[in-house]
Symmetry: C2
Subunit: 281 residues, 2 copies
């Protein structure tokens, strides 16, 4: 089988590396709009064949995997499905799913598309950040599985399982709402914290001396790629604004408790927040 990977960054590159490690009978084609990424992917042997254009990559693959920003997926997917051959399957790995599912909802070749989202990533980006174990023991969300041809879906599920992933089915709107709370919000918080610390701490040495591992952990996601995250935030605007309102309310609740020097209130707030321990070990 031939798989073409469009977008050779952390997500696409790592998927390529994990496929290479697990399957010996695959030929991996790849293309990235960033020429430096194409070069780096060739150098690191992430793919077998480096394509010269999106069109070439598209034609070569039995499967075409889109690991590119969500706005580009949403704008290019309908045209791609227009020209797809009957044996071809398109899979997207975008972090939001509702809009992407919507733009092809009534497409006559909707059954040759899988709307997927691997719950995996790091704060680093580009082919140099890719590694073969990124997807090990992770979850692959598939939205609207009933809209994809059954044999495509089965083969994709089998491939995910072979890479050590568990597939979970979820509605596209539900996916986006939950992801706003458990992923997108964390990124906004990290960027906001980074702004706050950078405004106060003009001296980098002071940050390094005084900040323990706590800041590093809380602010980690602020290292994430703006090119990837701006479209996600725009794309999932409604759900993110909902989660942001809840979050701002909670932070203001704490602020009020502190303004009042309300010791039992603060302690109760922390005790309740600490219940996350039961879920995230």
């Amino acid at each position: 089988m031939k798989i073409s990977i469009i977008g050779l960054g952390l997500i696409g590159g790592s998927y390529a590396l994990s496929l290479k490690q697990r399957f010996k009978d695959l030929t991996l084609y790849g293309w990235d709009h960033n020429e430096a990424h194409n070069l780096a992917a060739r150098k690191r042997n992430i793919i077998d064949v480096s394509c010269r254009s999106l069109e070439e990559a598209f034609e070569k693959g039995d499967w075409i995997l889109l690991a590119i920003p969500v706005n580009t997926i949403a704008s290019s997917l309908p045209g791609m499905l227009d020209t797809v051959a009957s044996h071809q399957l398109i899979i997207d790995f975008g972090s939001t799913k509702e809009q992407i599912c919507k733009v092809v909802a009534r497409h006559k070749r909707r059954d040759q598309f899988i709307a997927a989202h691997p719950i995996a990533g790091t704060e680093y980006s580009g082919p140099s950040a890719a590694f073969s174990t990124l997807y090990q023991d992770k979850v692959m969300i598939v939205c609207e599985p009933e809209k994809t041809k059954a044999d495509f879906l089965k083969t994709f599920n089998d491939q995910c399982n072979a890479l050590g992933m568990t597939t979970v089915y979820l509605g596209a709107a539900e996916h986006d709402l939950h992801l706003a709370y458990v992923s997108h919000l964390s990124h906004i918080i990290a960027f906001g914290l980074s702004h706050t610390v950078l405004q106060k701490e003009v001296s980098a040495t002071k940050i390094l001396d005084l900040a323990g591992s706590g800041l590093a952990s809380t602010v980690r996601l602020a290292k994430s790629s703006p090119d990837m995250w701006t479209p996600i935030f725009i794309n999932n605007r409604g759900a993110i604004l909902e989660s942001l309102d809840v979050y701002i309310e909670k932070i203001n609740d704490f602020k009020e408790l502190l303004e009042d020097s309300n010791v039992p209130g603060i302690k109760a707030f922390l005790e309740k927040g600490r219940e996350i321990k039961k879920i995230l070990k």
Copy 2:
């Protein structure tokens, strides 16, 4: 030399373990107000001698190390200095320093006290969380070093260096203000995020399926001990409220950009936030 450690949790217990590993000629006495901690510390061989009372621990030590909540340090330190023998030194490891320094500022035995803060910790607490390498390559802040007898200060500095730590001197008020930004705020953010996620995600399975490592990292500090953190927040109320105001403003800035679907604005916000990369690798 004999060192008495008051408070055998993560901070006191880890300091004991690292002392044991590095120095063979020390006898470590220990006491904790929580009897389960005393038992656990004995079981894990964290200390050599388990004292029956605070008074016993206080009398035995040449050095008395206070690794207890900051409110308890502030309330008990003046009385302790009242009764300290001329060869004894008290060191506190509290996370806030201004109030603690203030309550003994004019004490006649102020020179037998070191106001210290090791910039180290994890989200876990109690003697079971203690480990011998917690302080390796970390910074030990010492506030108002000029107020401590020079030979005490030198011996303490040497000990810190022997444990792999770098000592940094800082004013107490300056310490508290900076710590609000680079540590205390991160904890509040994590607790607020935890509240938000827990309110939305009643199903723990859903959180586990959908949350990547990003949430785990951003929310990690919400596992921290409310008994330790409530007094820190109260104690450093002014500086924390200042940092919270700046943070809430930044989060609201982002919210406004998102409400306006301001793509260049969001991208610029993320690019600026991402500059933390240059400081925290």
